[in-house]
Symmetry: C2
């Protein structure tokens, strides 16, 4: 059940491209109960690739290799495999046919560099013979090697569709591993450490993980076991315990994100939302509209960066701006009410603040942000002080604003600070 | 001048966390003319870390190691280095003092786990003795090893401030390597391949790189040489040649992004901008306001997701919506004019389209997007068909819209399609 990942390409070893393939493969393998012991990235270099392959074959049960399968000169994986594992390149007729079909459809001339892709190390087997995403596998000293293209979409497709099921089929007696991910917002590291302390001793073989993902904090609850029902029951019990302690901070579980959760709640309660953004500049609207189907609850918003636009678009009282300033409780309340009335929605959400790096004062330093929410005939508002650079302040502000909608609908109190 | 990078942590080998540290380090080293031959990620495992270290010392001139320097139980780098390189742990008094000072200020009790951090492998030297970001270096068989914390901010700080200058100081005779990055939008892969063909034979030792970064395409022009003036002159010559061929597609160079370029142009021409967004949902405003100082040219925007909000906020004619539809040339033109008039800016930029996955028809499939720009008494508009999922259509639409502002100010024609 131990394996490793090798990614090939000068763009990786030179830091020009982020290695998303190894990250994806490792995540998928881990989630399936397998263990990745090592990830190696090397450039398009014969010796380095060859070394990495040989070492992997000696130390692992399975090896995932990505990159270097294409038709250009720097695609050298096939040749290296042939040399390193002493398997001469043979013409794979099925692969050649496929390349020729592909070229015919696209009206591309068959060249020697395209044909090169059909020469594969002896004993290798094409993955996905029908599809256009190509790769191959071979078995060397009982180690299963999978060679996948470096193009992320194709790599992910083959990984999920073919490689992962095949690897898992070799490990029928594998203990299952199940993991829950809980996403928290507003509870800091020491606060989360406290939870772990409180449930210590009640958790058996459960393994906890803590992963800050600014401005969120994720915790994982993992358990290995021989049968699904027992593992599930135990995870349920511990998850309930965690939720009992800090339930209101948990905004999502698994793959969900904040905007999906908020969208789901709005749909469920049949509520419509509009947004007035100052320092976030459109980020809240962008996040909300990243969810398919968001048009049924998100009706629109305004980005009021200047004072004049706050007056013109939201009918904020000029005297309010003069007396209290653009970043104030009073202004954010008028913004929330203004956008709710103008766009005629059930809820009006507003944010105004100082994202920096300039514009801060002693009274209102960079990071001072007001959030407001108008609902029915009430309007709520609160001041926050966020830490960080411009991007971080914007991100935290959008997160807090969306969290307000979530907490309002769930009947939880708004956060007093983070 | 060859080195490698080792990153340590279960969160990396399990695919829970993207390995941004190795990416950053590799990028910085490469940009300085050094070569990274291998990047290895291993979990918090004695044997794997030890193996990786020993191999690196045998094969490289310098090694950057990140992670495992903290105070918790899974921070095991110091111990492993001690064992693997046979250098017993010694108490570093300076480090201990610093930890104690730090604890005093923060009113934390000194524990054995905090003290652990002050026990360092014999012969190691603290990096950054005054700062709070800690790390150490040592020399083993003439190989320089640098151990940095896994926290990205601290790692980057030490990398740029201390490690990189120190490594470079050991290689005074290093041939310099200089690279230009040109960022293109709207020219696809075959189009870019054509440029490379056209300038072939005129480029000497120049190395070209091509990096698709959806929806952008980046090309790099690199050259190694012994003296700065010659390298610069040669790069200048080739860059001029590339710009002569496809200048208008190049929207930025180096680290700049589209929103910075657009902001810079608006500032330079003293023009103000407002934005009316439908399918992009706020993304254009978010991008514009990610640039510090953007409030001096970006005055605000509206996100008009519903038809009613297009009428209410932008005074789009209801008959236009009825006759031509929300996604049409006529609507986007009224949106652009509407936002320009309402927010009283020099330019009004508008986007309306179908981001999907639903809402497409045969006439207007998912990906149909109209961009409009109102300037003085003129208004321009054009239809595009973008390919991809919801996120990609939003991204491409925001990019195209911003590119319109850039092209308008530069006097270049708008793109007819991509």
């Amino acid at each position: 059940m131990y394996g490793e990942i090798i990614t090939i390409g000068n763009e990786l070893s030179s830091g020009r491209t982020l290695d998303l393939n190894s990250w994806y493969a490792a995540g998928r393998l881990t989630a399936s109960g397998l263990k990745v012991t090592r990830i190696t990235s090397v450039g398009d270099d014969h010796k380095m690739v060859s070394d990495a392959l040989k070492r992997a074959v000696e130390a692992s049960r399975f090896v995932i290799v990505t990159g270097g399968l294409g038709s250009t000169d720097d695609d050298i994986t096939n040749e290296i495999v042939a040399q390193a594992l002493n398997r001469p390149l043979c013409l794979d007729q099925q692969m050649l046919d496929q390349i020729e079909d592909h070229a015919r459809v696209r009206r591309i001339k068959i060249t020697s560099s395209l044909e090169k892709m059909a020469w594969m190390p002896q004993g290798s087997r094409m993955l996905n013979p029908e599809g256009t995403a190509c790769g191959f596998s071979l078995i060397e000293k009982e180690v299963h090697l999978y060679f996948l293209p470096g193009v992320p979409d194709q790599m992910r497709y083959l990984m999920d569709k073919i490689v992962l099921p095949e690897i898992l089929s070799h490990y029928k007696t594998l203990p299952i591993m199940r993991q829950r991910i809980l996403k928290l917002y507003g509870l800091n590291e020491p606060g989360i450490a406290e939870i772990f302390k409180k449930i210590q001793g009640k958790t058996g073989n459960i393994v906890f993980g803590f992963y800050p993902r600014f401005p969120e904090n994720h915790i994982t609850i993992s358990l290995r076991g021989q049968d699904e029902p027992t593992v599930t029951k135990e995870l349920d019990r511990v998850e309930r315990e965690v939720r009992r302690l800090v339930g209101s901070y948990i905004f999502a579980a698994g793959d969900q994100n904040m905007e999906e959760v908020v969208g789901h709640l709005l749909l469920e309660k049949n509520l419509s939302l509009s947004v007035a953004e100052s320092c976030t500049g459109g980020l809240i609207g962008h996040r909300l509209t990243s969810v398919p189907g968001s048009s049924s609850y998100f009706h629109g918003g305004v980005v009021v960066y200047s004072n004049q636009s706050k007056i013109d678009l939201l009918r904020v009282d000029p005297r309010t701006l003069e007396t209290h300033g653009a970043v104030s409780e009073k202004t954010v309340e008028e913004m929330a009410r203004g956008v709710k009335d103008r766009i005629k929605t059930d809820l009006g959400l507003a944010v105004t603040g100082i994202a920096g790096p300039d514009g801060g004062t002693r009274q209102k330093p960079v990071g001072t942000v007001h959030v407001g929410l108008a609902a029915q005939d009430k309007v709520f508002s609160r001041e926050y002080r966020f830490w960080g650079n411009r991007v971080q302040v914007k991100l935290n502000s959008s997160m807090m604003a969306l969290d307000w909608v979530r907490r309002y609908i769930n009947g939880n109190p708004f956060l007093s600070g983070i």
